[in-house]
Symmetry: C2
Subunit: 649 residues, 2 copies
């Protein structure tokens, strides 16, 4: 599968530029403890969480024997470096930068030096006691970290052809293969946090080495067959503290409660679930195994039709950063971790490889433009870990049950998984625009871009010149330079019923097949497609089984979910109401928040009591008010203030 | 102040009888580990919380040297025995019972045997290391436990004249006095959990010994002057684990953030706050100190006008069982501990001693008939610790952020403070009906009773024959057998604007003075008062600063707040709505829930989607529904089901 999608979108170009010019250098400084920032605690009273510094690069230097010292930070601190490296790989793929490449090569050398002779790679155990490795997998994150390294290595190799990084990755994978598997003498277990499975599959895709595919499948199929695995390891464990009591978590926390193929619902830590699903779907796509695909479908359906917030966020509780139960979607205490949103996008991408169903691309779009994008500030230097649908800053400050819900993005968090995850996703966005299969090329996302694919017996170029995400017009020009008819699947966004289509200037009837309209481009021919997706302002309602949203409405336009923010709407915004008959006005404001479409509506506001009485028998009265909505992703860029997505109707 | 109020109320008689015949014997069995019950954990994953057994009596036996063994349970396990003893005292005051008295005397002997030579009394340190006593007051609860013992001793002495128990109490108080105070060589500190102050003031009231008053005042005035006190003790502490990390809690948790007289808001652990306030108000009433009363008023106003649920519950978060901030009253994640409700009733009672303002009696009534009473099942054998205003059993089971919210009352909890607290409050209810001062006798609560007070130069008898809490008629007959005019303050409930009054058969104009209508009964004369308080069904609205309740209504009738329960209203009760124009039907059902008034209203129910779509652009439709409300206190007596107090309007 060739990948040569050049993104020209103004909207995404700004973000990709931010990642290159701000995030990557900033993260580099953080990883090297020279950013001069105070790393924030995740919650009130978060004692014992590493937050003085990152120390991530320093850990590698210590492990490599270059400096004296000890390990500092989480057991998964290494992964911050790997995710940075992966983002750098995609960034170099887009645009070579010798200075950045130099840093990356230094890091690769450092990692290689920190790697043990036998291929094992993890600074925590290399520094604190290599003899204890692989013995506390509930909390050690060793395979998780190596999985991230392998992803980074594959990406870096693909972008630059660097063989050294791939060699380090293969050595690490081989070490894992030597230590885990069904054979006698190997560990019959798996990591507490899924990720190695993704890495191994990517390594298989680039190397063709079957052992990696087999090992990934082993980890996935073994999981949940031994619910006591983590506890048994923990009981015997004598090594440095890598557990922090996590081995006492419920089996569901680790998706370890039953074999994956028997799991009907998404349980436990949301990021772990979507990473597991990503690997599982890659495995299904790679092997064509229908049973595995069936398991993916069950989990996909459970998440997206019962456990996903309208922003694409998931994880209904901060406790264990977990899924809870169907239709439990509390707007102000949820977790909705940025990484879980990113993981859902990964999952969707793999599902599209298996079956051309636009629902995967729809969820990808919903999550990308809302929960995931909200994870970073417009300045590219501040990040949310938790993406609420409702915030009151005073409650975040004083209510410990809401203290994980930050009203402004901190510059870095003690557990810093999300910012580098955003960096790697945004820099690799080109991988999410199309799905290429033997049957068809699917246009999943409308993002201005110029692409050339090696396809069948030639090449296909596709150029998108769109108004997305703000305007309804989209033009796609396809050149088929193959000797075959090429089938193109054009996603017709589910958020409009009024899309229209012209093919080579002539109006065409839209006929949707699982959400795609298919056209055939003749061998050697070209086609101009003109799409119009009217971006009506929509009122969205939640299934009434979600008690939190009964009687409420959420506004959307095109791919964006909107929200009310205090800076536009005053304080006590829960008192605002959007009556059923209110009409909307839309205006794109180029000068606001780097350019956003603003929606205004006439509504009501409950009048605040002049008395201080807490309970009365008088119904509160309402006054007229103008409600001003902005896209959700852009909130919390104008200081600390209230926000809500679901508005009383 | 004579106390000879004989409660004849059918409603309360049943509860008082239950306490005598069910709760006290049941608790006895629990304390002796012969109840044959499984003690429930408070929350999901509550490992490390003592829950195998109570062991409370056994701890005393070990401390007394009667048996071998060690201490089991919380550091405050002793207080369960003391609260039992206090309830027994009130029960014997109401009705002598030789068998129960025998048990009480045995317990008193056991406690006396467990007391150290120098008066110190605490089984935890007597068993685990007396040399560490008073050195970990953040978590040790030593003074807390002794405070409960002193309360029990005073009550037992007052009920039966038993001198031994009072001697043990005085010895304990003297030991505390020897060890704490401003003098050099004494500890300049206080207990992490307020309670000793209440006990010392009660001991002063019964003995007249000024040292106890002085010591209580010392503890109260010293508090908050040394925010580092607990941390400093904890750093040096070498003794058995009495802290469990509690010394790391915020200063506010212990009301230790600033001197009490400077505290404007109720902060931290709600039970601690109201116990502190109870002692503070007793001190103000006893000394007439206006500054101290001012501090009480500030905290009273803050709690009751900004931080109290409509049921009288308080504590907005399970984290630290704490107050959070003004107007933060979440219905489904709150704490509303039964003990906090009881403590607020204690506080109100003391406030009434200072100033004859009916608002104190109103809050007392609201809390008594709703949050406090909900703490126990109708069978007297099952208890809530947490009293939610909204429950979905599936969420309690699966959402760790709601796992402290039980949908049915367990028979006993690992931390068993609430059941014995309920027992002592219900058995001493006679103390809450009237406030006697030189100026007037205030009728605070309408509870059928026959009372005789030694008052001024003679006696006054008051007989109440009421329809309370279900009917609007109330008859009070007062006989003034003194040689003075006796002033009577008749509380006119704030929940009706339509009360009427007849004095000796003649209609009289009601004139309220701080909520009381005053009448003078001539020396040697009598008076028949006939009150009618129409029990209209009321719609209650919350101050719109409480975001959770905007657009919602709570129903009340007389002293009762009502709720919707699943057993009457089906599942998904959040989908029910009570439109503004719905009318109500009321019916008293003698056969239901030991007799309750049921309210029915025509309303609406959102139709559950037939599709499984999570988000749509179609507004959910509504169908007609009948809403059936029962009094809040009676919920969760018909199995596990949903409940809510605040209903969408």
């Amino acid at each position: 599968m060739g990948n040569n999608v050049k993104i020209t979108s103004e909207f995404w170009g700004r973000y990709r530029n931010l990642v290159r010019t701000e995030m990557i250098p900033f993260q580099w400084n953080v990883l090297n403890d020279i950013a001069g920032i105070k790393i924030e605690k995740e919650r009130l009273n978060d004692d014992g969480i590493p937050s003085e510094k990152s120390h991530a690069i320093e850990n590698f230097k210590v492990a490599a024997g270059r400096t004296q010292g000890t390990h500092y930070g989480w057991t998964f601190q290494d992964s911050d470096v790997y995710k940075w490296l992966e983002a750098v790989a995609y960034s170099l793929r887009e645009k070579m930068d010798p200075e950045l490449e130099k840093k990356a090569l230094e890091v690769i050398d450092l990692i290689a030096d920190a790697q043990e002779e036998d291929g094992y790679l993890d600074t925590f155990y290399s520094i604190l006691g290599i003899q204890y490795r692989y013995q506390s997998l509930a909390g050690s994150h060793e395979l998780y970290c190596m999985g991230h390294f392998i992803e980074a290595a594959v990406a870096y190799y693909a972008a630059t052809g660097n063989e050294k990084v791939l060699t380090v990755a293969k050595k690490a994978a081989d070490n894992i293969d030597d230590n885990f598997g069904p054979e006698d003498g190997k560990i019959h277990g798996y990591d507490g946090h899924e990720e190695i499975e993704i890495g191994l599959l990517r390594l298989f895709h680039v190397t063709g080495e079957n052992r990696y595919l087999k090992l990934a499948k082993y980890f996935l199929m073994e999981r949940g067959k031994h619910p006591n695995f983590f506890r048994e390891q923990a009981e015997k464990y004598q090594g440095p503290n890598a557990l922090n009591g996590i081995e006492k978590a419920a089996d569901t926390y680790f998706q370890n409660h039953k074999p994956i193929l028997e799991q009907d619902t998404a349980e436990g830590h949301a990021v772990r679930v979507v990473y597991m699903c990503t690997a599982l779907a890659d495995l299904a796509a790679t092997t064509g195994d229908a049973e595995i695909y069936g398991a993916c479908k069950k989990l996909w359906d459970n998440i997206t039709s019962r456990r996903m917030f309208i922003t694409g966020g998931s994880g209904s509780t901060f406790h264990g950063e977990s899924f809870t139960l169907d239709y439990d979607l509390p707007n102000d205490t949820m977790y909705c971790e940025t990484c879980a949103a990113i993981g859902l996008i990964f999952f969707a991408r793999q599902m599209l490889r298996i079956e051309p169903k636009a629902e995967y691309a729809e969820v990808m779009e919903r999550t990308l433009y809302n929960c995931a994008l909200a994870g970073m500030a417009l300045d590219g230097k501040h990040f949310f870990y938790v993406n609420p649908l409702e915030v009151n800053p005073a409650k975040s400050l004083k209510d410990p049950g809401k203290s994980h819900v930050k009203p402004v993005r901190p510059s870095w968090l003690g557990c810093a998984c999300c910012p580098p995850n955003l960096a790697r996703m945004i820099t690799s966005l080109d991988d999410y625009v199309y799905t290429i299969s033997d049957d068809a090329i699917l246009i999943n996302q409308y993002i201005d871009s110029e692409s050339t694919f090696e396809y069948k017996d030639g090449t296909v170029t596709i150029k998108q010149a769109t108004g997305y995400p703000w305007d309804e017009k989209d033009g796609v020009v396809i050149n088929n330079k193959t000797k075959s008819v090429v089938r193109i699947g054009i996603r017709i966004p589910a958020w409009t019923a009024n899309a229209t289509l012209k093919i080579d200037g002539k109006a065409a009837e839209i006929s949707k097949e699982d959400g795609y309209h298919y056209v055939d481009v003749t061998a050697g021919g070209s086609m101009e497609i003109e799409l119009t997706f009217p971006m009506e302002i929509k009122r969205n309602y939640c299934n009434p089984l979600v008690s939190e949203d009964i009687g409420k409405v959420a506004i959307s336009r095109g791919p964006f979910v909107y929200c009310l923010e205090g800076v536009d709407n005053g304080t006590e915004i829960n008192g605002l109401r959007l009556p059923e008959d209110s009409t909307f006005e839309y205006e794109y404001k180029a000068g606001l928040l780097n350019g956003v479409g603003v929606i205004k509506a006439k509504g009501k506001r409950v009048e605040l009591s002049t008395s201080t009485e807490l309970y009365t028998n008088s119904r509160p009265t309402e006054e007229n008010a103008t409600l001003t909505f902005i896209p959700y992703y852009a909130w919390a860029n104008r200081g600390e203030n209230e926000m809500e997505v679901w508005v009383r109707e």
